[in-house]
């Protein structure tokens, strides 16, 4: 399973920079980032090249950060791809809590990341449908082949 790094950030200028600055200092690459905005604060969700190292570096700098397992699904970058995936989860009433995607190779390959409420079951279902659930060592080394 892939791990996503969740970081608490004050919703004011410069705070997100502080997070990315720590990652840069540790030569950590950011694959994708999304922010759950809750008004005065937000939770930045990051997919990075080395989540464990990134977590330790941020905690050392006093940040509130946590690692969360997420489903990372490799998909073809084509219309309808995401819909099929969500259908599988909907059939089993698996709730998607948060989701975001990024394209690895335009027109060919995309990755869809999801926080779901029954992670292992969802992973099993999707794998059974032939979808590729990425382990993090794979996810973080994806290249635009």
């Amino acid at each position: 399973m892939a791990e996503q790094l969740n970081v608490f950030v004050d919703n004011r200028p410069g705070r997100l920079n502080a997070v990315t600055g720590v990652l840069r200092d540790h030569r950590i690459d950011i694959r994708a980032m999304t922010i759950a905005d809750h008004g005065a604060y937000g939770v930045a969700k990051l997919l990075v090249s080395d989540p464990r190292l990134a977590h330790r570096a941020l905690v050392d700098q006093g940040f509130a950060a946590a690692l969360k397992p997420v489903l990372a699904i490799a998909m073809e970058d084509r219309p309808g791809g995401l819909h099929e995936l969500l259908e599988v989860l909907a059939e089993r009433s698996i709730n998607v809590l948060d989701a975001y995607g990024f394209v690895v190779a335009p027109g060919r390959r995309a990755v869809w990341c999801m926080e779901v409420d029954a992670l292992d079951e969802a992973a099993r279902l999707l794998a059974a449908r032939g979808l590729e659930v990425l382990a993090d060592h794979v996810l973080y080394r994806l290249e635009a082949e």
């Binding site: 608490f8 809750h38 005065a40 604060y41 690692l67």
Partner: protein, 436 residues
């Protein structure tokens, strides 16, 4: 113009006579104080074991100061100078924080207090013909019962409305043709803005005077209240350690607050050096009770700041006047008329493991209402990364604070280490309300 007065013999007493009276009562107070474990020890330290050791009023300066911390330390009975059976009432500060204070009163003490409040009410021009609606909290808060007793003694028709419930206040005012009210200035502004919603106009009211106190306010606010309601508003000063209301009050000339010097010895001192300050210089108000047997207090540091007004008041009273209070060093906050102690907020926050050590209390004004914002840092260790847990935490903090302080605050969560670190409690409070 004849000046309304309740007790002319005392209120117009020659200064020389007044000071002789103070000295006699100071010796009596020291005699009472020597019955308490707290003052036995404290006065023994300066070699004072008999009231006769005081040779003159000037010897007051030899007495030690008493602080709020002393009151906390002496809680509950270290400052009680009578048998419990002789006390008829106590007022204690909010005990939820674990650091309460208490003032006991004998029947005679209540009687003296009531007399002082009656003087205030009459000095401000109210009479037995007035209908008096007391809009301050009854119960432990001394503003309710203090004014109530004084108003009854004057012979006013008293409506013990207590605080809050603005709609009911307005209807009481209209139905009973209230002529005098007692409230905080901000509450009166709020009440005025609520009149239209109740379909009531100022003209339908018979209001003619308001007694305002319990929160610092500017001359502009007083004038605003006077213009909005077409009334006179008089400043009141009191604190529970000195009974409550009735310590100092404005007369009809509104030139400062006469402090009843037969009941209290007033000193204004530099809060840093504790040296007495000359007339006109602002410093900390220090008071010694002269008429309270159950809980005598010597040179009590009020943490309130003010200065003495020079010259004589046109009313002819010889009791000196305090200027409008320049601020409250006290840590109590008043939020929409409710007393809130930062320590209560701190206690509630520190019980929650997800909350970090730093916090900030911010007071803002939204329209005529106060808004209490509590900013806390989250503790990085229990952080789950789930935003829903944070929303839940905010909700739980809000609920814990509401049940601790009876005010629902706006809770803000912040990054660890992002709020200013401070040692003193006072620095954790930012009051952005305009000093109206």
């Amino acid at each position: 113009m004849s000046v309304p007065v309740w007790n002319p013999a005392v209120e117009f007493m020659e200064r020389e006579t007044l000071e002789r009276l103070q000295f006699i009562n100071l010796r009596q107070t020291v005699a009472w104080a020597l019955k308490t474990p707290f003052y036995q020890r404290r006065l023994a330290e300066i070699g004072l074991t008999h009231p006769e050791d005081l040779g003159s009023l000037r010897d007051l300066r030899k007495l030690p100061y008493t602080t709020k911390d002393d009151l906390r330390e002496a809680f509950p009975d270290g400052l009680l100078a009578v048998e419990r059976e002789e006390a008829v009432r106590l007022h204690t500060s909010s005990g939820t924080t674990g650091m309460p204070t208490v003032i006991y009163h004998t029947r005679r003490d209540i009687d003296h207090w009531t007399e002082l409040v009656a003087r205030c009410i009459v000095a401000a021009g109210a009479t037995a013909h007035d209908v008096f609606q007391n809009m301050t909290n009854y119960g432990m808060f001394t503003g309710g019962l203090g004014l109530h007793y004084g108003a009854e003694r004057v012979g006013m028709l008293v409506i013990p409305a207590s605080s809050g419930n603005t709609s009911r206040q307005i209807h009481l005012m209209r139905n009973f043709q209230t002529t005098v009210v007692h409230a905080t200035p901000s509450y009166l502004l709020h009440l005025h803005s609520a009149l239209a919603g109740e379909g009531v106009t100022v003209d339908q009211l018979r209001l003619r005077k308001a007694f305002i106190g319990a929160e610092p306010h500017s001359e502009e606010t007083r004038r605003k209240i006077e213009i909005l309601f077409g009334i006179q508003a008089y400043n009141s000063y009191g604190l529970s350690e000195m009974n409550g209301p009735g310590v100092a009050f404005e007369c009809v000339y509104q030139t400062g607050l006469h402090l009843w010097e037969d009941a209290y010895i007033l000193e204004i001192v530099d809060p840093e050096t504790l040296q007495p300050l000359p007339e006109g210089r602002t410093g900390e108000i220090v008071m010694t009770t002269l008429q309270r047997q159950a809980t005598p207090l010597l040179r009590y540091r009020t943490r309130d700041l003010s200065h003495l007004v020079g010259g004589n008041c046109p009313c002819g009273r010889t009791h000196r006047r305090l200027a409008r209070l320049n601020g409250r060093g006290d840590d109590m906050l008043i939020v929409n008329g409710v007393n809130v102690f930062p320590s209560q907020i701190e206690d509630a926050l520190m019980k929650m493991p997800e909350v970090g050590t730093n916090y900030l209390i911010q007071l803002e004004k939204r329209g005529s209402l106060d808004r209490l914002v509590v900013k806390t840092e989250i503790d990085p260790k229990p952080f789950t990364g789930d935003p829903r847990d944070l929303d839940d935490l905010r909700e739980r903090i809000g609920e814990a604070l509401r049940s601790a302080i009876l005010v629902k605050p706006v809770v803000e969560l912040h990054e660890p280490g992002s709020l200013p670190v401070s040692e003193g409690k006072a620095k954790r409070v930012v009051d952005l309300r305009p000093a109206f």
